[in-house]
């Protein structure tokens, strides 16, 4: 079995991003970048499946400029076998990403494509579902538990009502939720070893992807600030304030 895991390079989740004063975007210069946390969880799950002897190969894929090689190398250091960089200097939106991944899927024929449930920069939560649609295969989104047997996967999904369990035939697309696992830390010797693992670069232009018209970002703005709060000294004072506002 082969598992393809997608990795997106995003602003580190601990960074509080700021909108540029001219509203043209958010400040990303000099900001710490990392693997999207959900993608790290997806990769961890793929590696655990491999370590259980249920998969032979884990391939990490990222779409972007030379800088995404850093995150692919981190993925290799975690334990992926090889990496593919789809090279482009343009930001890709989810449908283009899904169409790009479909080209790789046709070439690589994986049994599972594992993505994060959303990227923490655009917060879209679309790419996995879109890939599954284009590939005409099952999707198991927001996965918190994955069990494989007999060419099928039983996936526990985090839904609003609780947990939903679905059975899907492989090949399938899965997207990871937070509680799927706790990703491992990368060790120094593994970082050294990762430098010798294969990392192929494919120009996006060579894949023949038909890009749909992108959504156009007009302006960026900071979220509205909440008014200054008030510290109260006691429960009685708090209850009084809430009663004044008609909330109790």
């Amino acid at each position: 079995m082969k598992i393809l895991v997608t990795i997106k390079r995003v602003v580190d989740y601990n960074v509080r991003v700021r909108v540029k004063p001219d509203g043209s975007g958010v400040e990303t210069d000099g900001v710490k970048m990392s693997i999207n946390p959900f993608d790290e969880i997806a990769l961890e799950e793929a590696l655990r499946i491999k370590e259980r002897g249920e998969a032979e190969e884990v391939v990490v894929v990222s779409i972007g400029g030379t800088e995404v090689q850093q995150q692919l190398r981190t993925g290799l250091a975690m334990g992926a076998d090889r990496a593919i960089q789809v090279e482009t200097d343009q930001a890709v939106q989810p449908l283009t990403a899904a169409r790009t991944l479909l080209k790789l899927v046709e070439k690589e024929a994986p049994d599972i494509v594992f993505l994060g449930k959303q990227a923490i920069d655009d917060d879209c939560s679309q790419t996995g579902q879109m890939l599954a649609a284009l590939w005409d295969r099952p999707q198991a989104t927001f996965a918190s538990r994955v069990e494989l047997a007999d060419g099928k996967a039983t996936v526990t999904r985090e839904v609003d009502a609780g947990l939903e369990v679905n059975e899907v035939d492989l090949p399938a697309v899965m997207t990871s939720d937070l509680r799927l696992n706790e990703p491992r830390f990368v060790k120094l010797p593994d970082i050294m070893k990762a430098k010798r693992k294969p990392l192929d670069t494919v120009p996006l232009a060579d894949l023949g992807v038909d890009s749909p018209p992108d959504l156009v970002a007009r302006t960026y703005e900071p979220p509205p600030r909440r008014g200054g709060g008030k510290m109260v000294g006691s429960v009685a004072e708090l209850v009084g304030e809430l009663k004044n506002k008609g909330l109790l």
Binding site: R16, Q129, P138, V168, G227, L238
Partner: protein
Amino acid sequence: MAKVLIIGEHDGQTLNPATAKTVQGASGLGIDDIDIVLFGTALDDVAAQAAAVNGVSRVLTCVHDDFAHPLASRIAPEVAAIAGDYSHILTGSTTFGKDLLPRAAALIGVNQVSDIMEVIDARTFKRPIYAGNAIVTVEVPEGGPVVGTIRSASFAAAGEGGNAEISGLEPQAEDPGHTRFVRVEGSGGDGPDLASADVVVSGGRALGSADNFAIIFSLAQKMGAAVGASRAAVDAGYVPNELQVGQTGKIIAPDLYFAIGISGAIQHLTGIKDAGTIVAINKDADAPIFEIADFGLVGDLFELVPELEKAV
């Protein structure tokens, strides 16, 4: 053709409040024709509820055994098949909507606008990015319908009093057979629904254990409130994960929100920024939660929460 299609969400008996909120969001588009489509096995009750939502023109019921459970791989092709009649295809930004709509958008061949928080005009919307730390105004290019999810916390539910026409719709796609529903494990809580409650009492890591969380449930019960939790409390196993409030849990906008023993990480604040009034109770006076709280109380939650329960 300017017409809106909303994919209704329901559990077989009740229309999810997210659907009436999506109707409210759609009413800002300046388009009078709003249809709701429902997929299910027995839809009479839910269709009647959908028809009563103000502003809805038609309710389309697509009844088939295949729709016993809302599987995206089965429903998305149905949505794509009728998409050609509509300028806008919307649903609520719930796990149902997030799972289904991107699959339909890909089949239609357009990008989706996720989590619409404000409608500027028929093709221009505001949506939050970076865990709500920035708001982007996006324009959907011509050349396809607008496909989007409506952020429930940003819109009130459209009122009742409508009288839409209800008509049947034949399924057009076939079950691909590759995805099967097995079971659902709900928490079975009997309090109000977290996503739509007027008052929410949330607890965090500082509660220290699942047993200690009882004081949160007790306060919530006294107030008729729903219970929520931070990621830390969920990860520690104090409460089930469907109670998680935040960027990757539920995004809520109750009138009154109590954050108890929650420090206020960026990812949590994203989930509550639109609450009417936020009350924070924490022993750390420097906790970030106090920066957005309307009322803050510094002290030991194990003393203050029972005291509060007596006082309300």
